[in-house]
């Protein structure tokens, strides 16, 4: 058994090789990426507000990433652009301000890279999170009712109470209002807008 050192060396080198290709090289190439001032004169990617950053934590906690990706593939690698999920592919620079990034692999639901551009209405998002089928009756998205509160209307109806169709509406005298978590999550969704041009990924 005097070949044991050789076997261990082989295993070690295999892992070193993989680590070099998958971790070290990408880090050397992309680790120093900085935001840039793009052709529109704006800082790209823009940072997120504090509320949206909190919303990203809700996004992670609710497991949105299991069904929604946040990456638009280039034209030669898929039909993402044809589906209207973005005007350009996404590149590493899009994600440098995010910890963690929610790239996602499953697409049970649509890609959310630019959802803040496609659906700019907070009321729409609240309604959709509370009852996805109130917006699309074929939706397979789970309802996130526990992010909302049913409360008795005290005098006047709350300003941010959800405007629901009869099927999902609470009983008379009650209203559905978003919790702080729901508001943060929607703020995060509305902040998802990677439609700015970048040097390496211009919008033509």
């Amino acid at each position: 058994m005097n070949s044991l050192p050789r076997i261990f060396l082989g295993i070690f080198l295999t892992f070193v090789f993989a680590w070099g290709g998958l971790v070290a090289m990408p880090y050397l190439q992309l680790g120093g990426l900085q935001p840039e001032v793009n052709e529109d004169g704006e800082i790209a990617p823009p940072g997120q507000s504090g509320l949206a950053e909190y919303g990203a934590k809700i996004y992670a906690a609710e497991g949105c990433v299991y069904c929604h990706s946040q990456q638009v593939r280039p034209e030669y690698a898929g039909s993402d652009l044809e589906r209207g999920w973005g005007a350009r592919r996404t590149v590493p620079r899009d994600y440098i301000k995010e910890r963690p990034t929610f790239l996602g692999t499953m697409r049970t639901g649509p890609d959310l890279t630019n959802i803040g551009l496609r659906q700019q209405s907070a009321a729409w998002h609240h309604k959709h999170l509370y009852a996805p089928r109130a917006e699309a009756d074929w939706s397979t998205m789970p309802a996130y009712r526990y992010l909302y509160r049913k409360q008795k209307i005290q005098g006047q109806r709350s300003e941010d109470a959800l405007d629901l169709p009869d099927k999902y509406a609470p009983p008379e005298g009650y209203e559905i209002v978003p919790s702080a978590e729901a508001k943060a999550l929607v703020a995060y969704l509305l902040s998802l807008n990677r439609s700015y041009p970048l040097t390496e990924a211009p919008i033509d």
């Binding site: 190439q29 030669y76 551009l117 700019q120 439609s195």
Partner: protein, 271 residues
């Protein structure tokens, strides 16, 4: 024969005939000579295998040479500009500058529509039943161009009736994301595609609309829009259907080129 043979009481030779050897190596000598035991060493490799691996290496090297993008972090174009040439930013920019051609409003519109609108209104302009209204044959699209322009600039929320069907969604605002040319292009495109036929919308009309409603940020509602009766003022650009519109840089060559190619016969009735 009482005399004893010297081999008689050698236990190793018991059972052997006279003259037979008990040495296993000498017994197998003939076999070993004909078929030697295999040994580790530098055996010659099959020539075919060498050729096969050579081809794989050559293909790998060629692939890496063509598609490495200069090993730059900011190059994402997988297709080679030139063999070993600058596939990167400079090369791509140079190639783009050389090929920057002028697009018509319809072409700008088609591109912009595909980038931003197909997710909801679909490539067919038919929308999605009960969710996103169709653009085909819709009065909102082919009718008053001012209302249509305002919907694009600031968005629309709440109930809207399109082709006799009620929709209740939220159209996003595009004032921040699309410039005048792109908005005019999209309007022109949706007004003249899928069987729709209506007047073009020029960028200067959108610029006027933007300035006129510069204080507006909220999304429109159906009622507010229906209260607007007037259409957009006519464009100051001569609205010729074939006039190319420069996207990036104005070119001085197209207009004289059109003028000189005019034949005398065609020019005569104009005079």
């Amino acid at each position: 024969m009482s005399e004893s043979h010297p081999d008689d009481h050698n236990p190793e030779l018991e059972g052997l005939d006279y003259g037979e050897s008990g040495d296993i190596r000498s017994i197998h000598q003939a076999v070993l000579r004909e078929k030697a035991d295999p040994e580790d060493g530098l055996e010659p490799l099959s020539l075919w295998l060498i050729c096969f691996f050579g081809l794989i290496l050559a293909f790998g090297g060629m692939y890496l040479g063509m598609f490495n993008g200069g090993f730059r972090a900011d190059v994402y174009d997988p297709f080679p500009v030139g063999f070993g040439g600058p596939a990167g930013r400079d090369g791509a920019a140079a190639a783009a500058a050389g090929e920057k051609k002028e697009l018509t409003l319809m072409e700008i519109g088609e591109k912009t529509y595909k980038q931003n609108c197909v997710a909801c209104h679909q490539a067919t302009g038919m929308g999605a039943a009960g969710l996103y209204p169709p653009l085909v044959g819709a009065d909102w699209v082919v009718g008053n161009n001012k209302r249509l322009g305002l919907i694009l600039l600031h968005g629309l929320e709440g109930k809207i009736t399109v082709n006799g069907v009620d929709y209740n969604g939220a159209m996003p605002a595009w004032a921040k994301n699309l410039n005048d040319e792109r908005i005019a292009g999209v309007l022109t495109y949706i007004r003249n595609s899928w069987g729709n036929a209506a007047s073009e919308v020029q960028p200067d009309q959108i610029a006027w609309l933007r300035a006129e409603y510069s204080s507006r940020t909220a999304a429109w509602s159906e009622g507010e829009l229906l209260a607007i009766e007037s259409a957009l003022p006519p464009s100051e650009v001569a609205a010729t259907t074939e006039a190319p519109v420069a996207v990036e840089t104005a070119s001085q060559e197209t207009v004289p080129a059109d003028a000189t190619t005019e034949t005398p016969e065609a020019a005569a009735p104009a005079n």
